[in-house]
């Protein structure tokens, strides 16, 4: 009997553990270790953040779902990996610390034959002084709890506008090295939509602040689409939406400090600026969750299997090289750790070889560029691909990864909500292929323009709404869940 341990039950970990459990049957054990008792459909947190959905609408309890299919679930966080075991334990293992009510703080050793790191990001609010809802001055929509808090704060601002006060609304990225601009973009337009519906749009000055070189970069170096007889940069469409909705923008910005009602930021030209706000939602930068790794003798080997940003090294080419020399071959395909062949990383937890957007630094040496996104679809696909490989290793004795998928050969379909409402809502529906531009295959724009598209409309909202229900249905392992693509 083999035991597969999956650390993290988010988009990619939940995909990996549920498929593995389905394929391996009861002869093998799949154990999922995750600190959360609930699964969260994170994209819909945007609607929680404007009060259009509740936490309950975007979450469900994991235990009954895992119990139903016989998957071993430990509500705990992984703390360390011991890939060679230790003096007293010959098998590889991880240590975990329970977060489950009544067992908090209890530690356990969990041996494994195969390990998947799907721990996603640490929301690194500490990278910017004063950032974040816990000890800072800004709100967040990255978790459903944060989003609920954001909705209350937004409502307070709306009440002040109703009372005749003008409010400065600031939404965007809270550091020069953030990813997830899409979420900030969506939240901006959902907030604008809500303020308009509340009848106080004239009382709100809404500003978007971003570390992108140009709007529409989204950490993937932007995209081009065919529209109106032209091949046009996504920048044009993004700026158009900002103009249409009366939202000002600040780009190439590294927020370096937040005070009550004031952000300080540096722009790519090296100048320092300040901006006052009454309500601010700023996305934090992401890092790995801080797992440690130890050798058999107890020596700290964290630096050998993790990259400096805390993400796990996989089969990517990490050789530093200039932007002009980047290629899709740098990107991983199997997500297997090069040292320990039974360890894999999926979703946000794998270390990308480099950025996708062009690296930029201010004259002061401050990096101001988006880091690479690993959105829901790639995270799910990678989780399933790794699960297929592990299945082959366990059931058919494969010694090398049998399944491959690269972000240079994978597309993404994204729907960015611009306001909720079955007849009044809109969303930008985007497809791009591939996620990482491939200038060898597509020399002009790096992407296949027949499969790269974008349009705004009510249809996008309907799709986003459908996806909300479809992915919750899939994640709850309800009838036909295996047929729903990632």
């Amino acid at each position: 009997m083999a035991r597969v341990v999956v650390m993290g039950a988010g988009v990619s970990g939940h995909t990996a553990c549920t498929f593995l459990n389905d394929w391996l049957g009861s002869e093998h054990e799949v154990v999922v270790v995750t600190p959360n008792s609930q699964w969260n459909w994170i994209p819909s947190n945007i609607w929680v953040g404007v009060g259009r959905m509740s936490s309950e609408d975007v979450t469900f309890d994991l235990k009954p779902v895992y119990d139903k299919v016989g998957l071993t679930y430990k509500q705990a966080k992984a703390v360390s990996i011991h890939p060679e075991g230790s003096e007293g334990e010959s098998s590889p293992y991880i240590t975990i610390e329970y977060t489950e009510s009544g067992k908090e703080g209890t530690t356990e050793v969990l041996t494994y034959d195969y390990l998947i790191n799907a721990t996603g990001p640490k929301l690194n609010f500490a990278a910017t002084e004063g950032l974040g809802p816990d000890s800072g001055h800004t709100v967040s929509v990255c978790t459903h709890d944060h989003a609920t808090h954001a909705a209350h704060k937004l409502q307070e601002s709306i009440e002040k506008m109703r009372a005749g006060e003008t409010q400065e609304i600031l939404i965007g990225t809270g550091h020069g090295m953030c990813t997830c601009q899409g979420a900030a973009f969506e939240y901006t337009f959902n907030v604008e939509h809500e303020i308009t519906l509340a009848g106080v749009r004239d009382k709100a000055n809404i500003t978007y602040i971003s570390n992108e070189y140009e709007l529409g970069d989204f950490g993937v170096g932007g995209m081009h689409i065919k529209r109106g007889g032209y091949i046009t940069s996504g920048k044009v469409f993004t700026e158009s939406l900002f103009t249409e909705r009366g939202v000002k923008w600040i780009k190439r910005a590294h927020v370096n400090k937040v005070e009550a009602k004031k952000v300080h930021f540096e722009t790519l030209d090296g100048n320092q600026h300040e901006k006052e706000f009454d309500f601010a939602m700023l996305i934090p930068p992401f890092s790995g969750v801080g797992l440690k790794a130890f050798g058999k003798d107890g020596s700290d080997i964290t630096d050998t299997i993790f990259a400096p940003n805390g993400f796990l090294k996989v089969d990517a080419d990490y050789t530093p090289k200039p932007y002009e020399e980047w290629s899709i071959e740098d990107w991983p395909q199997t997500y297997q750790n090069p040292i320990y062949g039974n360890i894999f990383a999926t979703g946000i937890a794998f270390a990308p070889p480099h950025l996708i957007s062009k690296p930029m630094k201010s004259p002061n040496g401050t990096p101001i560029n988006p880091t690479p996104p690993r959105t829901g679809m790639p995270s799910g696909i990678i989780g399933k691909t790794v699960a297929k490989t592990i299945k082959e290793m366990i059931l058919n004795g494969a010694t090398e990864p049998t399944h491959k998928v690269s972000m240079g050969e994978m597309g993404a379909a994204c729907v960015a909500s611009a306001g909720k409402g079955m007849l009044s809502g809109t969303a930008a529906s985007l497809t791009m292929y591939p996620v990482v531009p491939d200038y060898k295959k597509y020399p002009d724009y790096g992407r296949d323009l027949d499969h790269t598209s974008g349009e705004i409309g009510l249809a996008g909202h309907w799709i986003k709404h459908t996806l909300h229900h479809l992915f919750l249905h899939k994640a709850k392992l309800k009838a036909g869940w295996t047929l729903i693509p990632e």
Partner: protein
């Protein structure tokens, strides 16, 4: 939104009334709903 000459938003295209109408026109958007779903399915199938 008021667009002032030389402001950042003076240089962007803005949708015409017709475009705005089509974005919310239920019949047209139903057709787009089918079309976008098909596009997405193609991208999804190319990625698996």
């Amino acid at each position: 939104m008021k667009i002032n000459p030389y402001d950042q938003n003076d240089y962007t295209p803005v949708p015409s009334k017709f475009t705005l109408f089509m974005r919310k026109c239920v019949i047209w958007q139903f057709i787009r709903f089918i079309a976008i779903n098909l596009k997405m399915l193609v991208v999804v199938s190319k990625s698996h």
